[in-house]
């Protein structure tokens, strides 16, 4: 492991008067998959959204503590630059109501990157990366909304890859997918790990166990335990982690 891709120090977050993250010290290693598990409302999605400042879009959010992106204080980063480096895939596949091609080049258009040729090459490269090129190469001009849920989600991942992020945040990316599609997206994650750092929030403990190298367990805004996935699932140190992964609550 080369170092920390993301790290927080005493991160507190409040929604109005509700204390949603309690002094979280969390880290994500480069080129690994780290998963965040925990029951609903434990703050795992909130923590995830801190890393590309999506919480900024919500009113009445207050934060203190420090977040480091590749050991750079996030405060020092421009928000546009940050979101380019730290991309996000959402729970529900959310392609724009445009064509497949328009969806894929959106990021490039926004950043005004590249010629026509570069765009076409990027589209092909990113669709290949998510295993969609063969299926979609003849359907680039058809509407993205007509695709299956799995294909849409893969397309969203491909769309993200076009802007070449360093870190990919996945917010329960498989919750709208069937088990077979889920499995294929998981394989894709492992594939992407070679070039990207992945942080995934999941409801599905088995998914965390299957794909991730490191796991953090959160409860009521607190990062209860963090460690290698095998350790968390076989010999958790905290009683609450053990109770959760053995299904005593959650």
């Amino acid at each position: 492991m080369d170092g920390y891709a993301l790290r927080t120090e005493k991160l507190n977050l409040y929604y109005g008067t509700m204390h949603a993250l309690l002094s979280v010290n969390f880290k994500v290693f480069e080129n690994s998959i780290t998963s965040l598990i925990g029951p609903s409302g434990c703050g795992k999605s909130t923590l995830l959204r801190c890393f590309n400042r999506m919480n900024d879009l919500i009113d009445d959010v207050r934060m203190d503590g420090t977040i480091f992106v590749k050991e750079q204080d996030m405060e020092m980063l421009d928000i546009i630059e940050l979101r380019k480096r730290v991309g996000m895939v959402f729970q529900r596949p959310n392609p724009f109501p445009f064509s497949v091609y328009e969806n894929l080049i959106y990021g490039l258009k926004v950043h005004d990157i590249g010629s026509r040729k570069y765009k076409q090459e990027t589209v092909e490269r990113c669709l290949r990366a998510v295993g969609l090129w063969e299926d979609l190469k003849d359907k680039l001009s058809s509407p993205a909304l007509n695709l299956s849920e799995e294909t849409k989600q893969r397309l969203c991942i491909a769309r993200l890859l076009t802007v070449e992020p360093e870190i990919i945040l996945l917010d329960e990316p498989c919750s709208a997918l069937d088990p077979i599609a889920t499995l294929r997206v998981e394989e894709l994650m492992v594939e992407l790990k070679k070039n990207y750092t992945i942080l995934i929030v999941t409801h599905n403990m088995q998914q965390a166990a299957r794909v991730s190298d490191y796991t953090g367990f959160m409860l009521l805004g607190e990062l209860v335990e963090f460690g290698e996935t095998s350790q968390i699932f076989t010999s958790p140190k905290d009683k609450r982690t053990e109770d959760y992964i053995t299904g005593r609550f959650g």
């Binding site: 590309n52 879009l57 940050l82 724009f96 959106y106």
Partner: protein, 278 residues
């Protein structure tokens, strides 16, 4: 005593369908009368030649051009203003006393009778600003008049764009402006277009506000400062002053069919919009 619900149900069905048929019936009767009275006088000649002898003879070419120019230029002015206002209200502000005030103003503007727009345009543009009866004065008055329609339909269209599309756009590191111009507006465009089409219909059919501001010259308007006549005004004057009922009905026929045509297009677009996000 309780009436048998089956009877109530049957009566409701008959009553409601009767009301619906009555409404459609009135439309059919109006269009039929205009067709019967106007159709014999509508031909290519009528459409491409200019009126002569106050409209007693000749066609309505200058009125068609006048109508087209008025509608086109009003839309040209009102669309950026209206869509801009809608974007501001939906994307750039939070609900507050200020936005409520703007919305209230827009609603009030929509409720003002057109004759008042005409009087305002006459006093302000024609006299105060010295534009005289002119295409420009007509266009500016009409712009104010159709603004509420454009603002409201654009606002609805923009609001119907799912919020998660904006969030995705931000997450792909787009700014607010990029999100608005590259995601929200393209997604809302068909809805906005519907509002524009409805406004065209309004501008095409308007008389009161137009007579007072654009005047009623029969000559072909060649500059913004020329007076001109729209089909609706032409019809009104022909009928009101008993110049020629035949020509009046023929004009009405052309007018009704242009408006019908515009509405059909508007509905077509509206259907496309609603099917898009389902």
């Amino acid at each position: 005593m309780r009436i048998n619900p089956r009877i109530v149900d049957a009566a409701a069905k008959v009553g409601l369908s009767g009301q619906a048929f009555f409404t459609v019936g009135i439309l059919i009767v109006i269009v039929a009368i205009i067709c019967v009275k106007g159709l014999p006088y509508v031909n290519m000649e009528f459409i491409v030649s200019s009126p002569e002898d106050m409209g007693r003879h000749g066609g309505i070419f200058s009125a068609i051009i006048g109508t087209g120019l008025l509608a086109f230029l009003s839309i040209l002015f009102a669309t950026p203003l209206g869509v801009g206002t809608a974007i501001f209200l939906t994307e750039y502000t939070k609900e507050s006393a200020f936005t409520k005030m703007i919305r209230f103003g827009v609603e009030s503007l929509a409720g003002i009778p057109s004759i008042l727009y005409g009087l305002f345009g006459f006093i302000f543009f024609v006299i105060k600003l010295g534009m005289g009866w002119s295409l420009l004065a007509g266009v500016l008055t009409m712009t104010i008049m159709i603004l509420p329609t454009i603002i409201r339909t654009s606002e609805e269209a923009i609001k119907s764009v799912p919020r998660n599309l904006r969030i995705v756009s931000y997450s792909l590191s787009a700014t607010k402006w990029e999100t608005v111009t590259k995601v929200v507006l393209p997604a809302a465009a068909p809805g906005i277009l519907t509002g524009i089409m409805l406004s065209v219909g309004r501008a095409v059919g308007e008389t009161a506000a137009v007579i007072f501001t654009m005047g009623s010259s029969l000559r072909l308007p060649t500059s913004l400062m020329d007076s001109g006549r729209t089909m609706a005004v032409h019809f009104y004057i022909l009928a009101r002053e008993g110049i020629s009922m035949e020509k009046a009905y023929a004009t009405a026929l052309v007018l009704v069919f242009s408006i019908l045509f515009i509405n059909v297009i508007a509905y077509y677009i509206m259907n496309k919009v609603t099917s898009r996000y389902s």
